[in-house]
Amino acid sequence: MTPSDRDATGLLTRPDQFVQLVTPGGERRHDAEYDPWVADVDSTALGRLYRDMAIVRRLDTEATALQRQGELGLWPPLAGQEAAQIGSARALRDDDFVFTSYREHGVAWCRGVGPAELLTVWRGSAASGWNPYERGMAVPQIIIGAQALHATGYAMGLAWEGSDAASVAYFGDGATSEGDVNEALVFAASFDAPVVFFCQNNQWAISEPVGLQSKQPLARRADGFGMPGIRVDGNDVLAVLAATRVALDRARRGGGPTFIEAVTYRIGPHTTADDPKRYRTDDELVEWGTRDPLTRVLALLAASGVDTDALEGEVADEAGRAAAELRTAVTTIPDPEPMSVFDHVYAEPNSHLARQRDHYARYLAMFDDADQTPASTSAAATQAEGGAR
């Protein structure tokens, strides 16, 4: 292994070091082990994967713009990780259940999360945007790595029920350093849990290169925990689909967990609050630009005779409509009622919170009631501030 096998961020990305079915140039590489798993993916199916990726890329751009325009508080862009997310999520059944981090908008798209549902939490309008049981997808997790254990527990439950569904834990390269992720590997192996650990190694954890988290390709972590590890070109949607199908199939058949490392790249900032120029070079961006997940699919489709200009056009239109819908949706997200701040803390009545709620309701009512003005000092303040409420 020579330094030249490593890219700017220090990890191995030579094609022979991961599963790759489509080269960056769009050539179909044959792989005896993984080809059978995507034998059904004809041009039409591949076109659909392209469509998914193009749409989520467009939605992501739109959301970033919405954040810049003040419509969202924050947005963590997925740009660059479309293949990893679409390829894996399109391998799922409806009755599978996914636990993600905050960047998996592409996964959410595949799970049928609607535009308003997607943006709610980033707009700061509510604690979450969708009912997990309607989408087969947990609400996003911000504590790095915590969801890996949730996915494992969920899968243990599936196994104990005798279900052949599976769960998937999505997390990043940085997350592999958290205790929770490692403990999840321990539990999953111990209980043969039908869970897929899907690690998007996008080379960075905010400003920290993956080489700081691990000197080893992350997929190699798996073996020591007693499960297969697959390292896949995360910018190759076909390879990701194949690898995820392999892992899900194993899970369904009682074979236990699999760890997938999808080697990909975050093109944009960590979030809209981040300035990646402070920690990474343009060269790196240029290099990863040559490995774009979308262009290679178009090239492959073109080579197999598809009219990709037409496809691109159609999909661009559709993506544009989706983006417009997103833009509309954001304004339809209702602002929360003040008193809803107390909702759902508990599932059952709670005397302490009920009292606190009552107090606050009466406090707020002081401002409504013209006759009964707030107590003198606070009235003074309210005037001084121009009646903030």
Binding site: F97, F99, A126, A127, S128, N131, P132, Y133, A138, V139, I143, A146, A148, L149, H150, A151, T152, G153, Y154, A155, M156, G157, L158, W160, E161, S167, G179, D180, E183, A184, V186, F187, S190, D343, H344, V345, Y346, A347, E348, N350, S351, H352, L353
Partner: protein
């Protein structure tokens, strides 16, 4: 009525919960084959199988985090933390996940976990085996925190905790595991005192003494000792530490005008602080003296040979009563 130890009463309650709802699963270290280091889960794995009473790998975050996933799937996990001092590696899962997921999911996901924690000292144990971490959880929105003190309550409360839809930190007074008491195993949960309600364990008129867990017995003893001296102590077993049953405590303090709170945990920011502050807010006009706290010191739990100089005992509680009464020779007379 059966006579059971507190540990056996919990065992009986767990058995009934397991039998009554097949979504109830017990998880923890050494709870299966061994039956738990205190034998609270003794025999349950044999009876219900390894998927209902689950020996887990050695990781508290792992146990709690997978329990969250199981709850997502509709299970009602009952987690045993082997000793109080081992709960902290799982703290993030409790505080950031278990406590917040119902809120985060806007009520869509329930977290009916019961987290059993043998707590408190007085057993001559090694470090980390005698702690009282309840205040951390009482300060955490989204959790309920309860402590049982005798076999009858233990039997009922563990079932109520499991049946409830909110996560419950369930503190068990480990030094009283072997104390016996009558338990009505046929009683229905519906008729039982609700989980959030305190219990008046001794009536009195001079001072209200509030405590929970292992110190309830000490408080009873204190009431008896004080009675001989003509002081009438009303003893309240708090049972629920979050939320606190204030109506019961308030009613008593309005009558006695004096409040003593006892717990093993340190004073600074302990459950007694909230209780003193809240009762002062609610009953200021009725208080004849500042509420008095009799607590462990604000030190790491000391080595076994020093624990009697840390834990509130009969004497220290009675000294607290004296202070609340402003009696001569008590510490209340000393200018700090």
């Amino acid at each position: 009525m059966t006579t059971l130890t507190l540990a056996k009463a919990l065992n009986a309650g767990l058995r009934r919960a397991l039998a009554g709802d097949d979504k109830v699963v017990l998880m923890g270290e050494d709870i299966g084959t061994l039956g738990g280091v205190f034998r609270v889960t003794d025999g349950l794995k044999a009876e219900f199988g390894a998927h209902r009473v689950v020996d887990t790998p050695l990781s508290e975050a792992g146990i709690l985090g997978t329990a969250v996933g199981l709850a997502y799937r509709g299970f009602r996990p009952v987690v045993e933390i082997q000793f109080d001092g081992f709960i902290y590696p799982g703290f993030d899962q409790i505080v950031a996940q278990v406590a917040k997921l119902h809120y985060r999911s806007r009520g869509n996901v329930r977290m009916p976990l019961t987290i059993r924690v043998p707590f408190g000292g007085g057993i001559g144990a090694a470090e980390h085996h005698s702690e009282s971490p309840e205040a951390y959880f009482a300060h955490t929105a989204g959790l309920r925190v309860v402590a049982c003190s005798d076999p009858a309550d233990a039997y009922v409360m563990i079932q109520q905790a499991i049946a409830g839809d909110d996560p419950v930190l369930f503190f068990e007074p480990k030094r009283r595991y072997h104390v016996r008491g009558d338990v009505d195993e046929t009683a229905s949960l519906a008729d039982a005192r609700p989980l959030g309600v305190a219990s008046l364990v001794a009536s009195g008129s001079d001072v209200t003494l509030v405590t929970y867990g292992a110190l309830v017995q000490t408080a009873r003893d204190a009431a008896i000792a004080a009675a001989e001296d003509g002081v009438s102590i009303e003893v309240i077993d708090l049972r629920s530490l979050a939320p606190v049953d204030y109506p019961t405590v308030e009613a008593s303090v309005r009558r006695t005008g004096r409040l003593v709170i006892a717990h093993e945990a340190g004073q600074q920011g302990g459950v007694g602080a909230e209780l003193a502050a809240s009762i002062t807010e609610r009953c200021f006009e009725f208080l004849e003296a500042a509420p008095v706290r009799v607590t462990g010191h604000d030190i790491p739990y000391p080595p076994a040979k020093l624990e009697r100089h840390h834990l509130p005992d009969l004497d220290r509680i009675l000294d607290g009563v004296d202070r609340a009464l402003g009696r001569p020779n008590s510490l209340s007379g000393v200018e700090a």
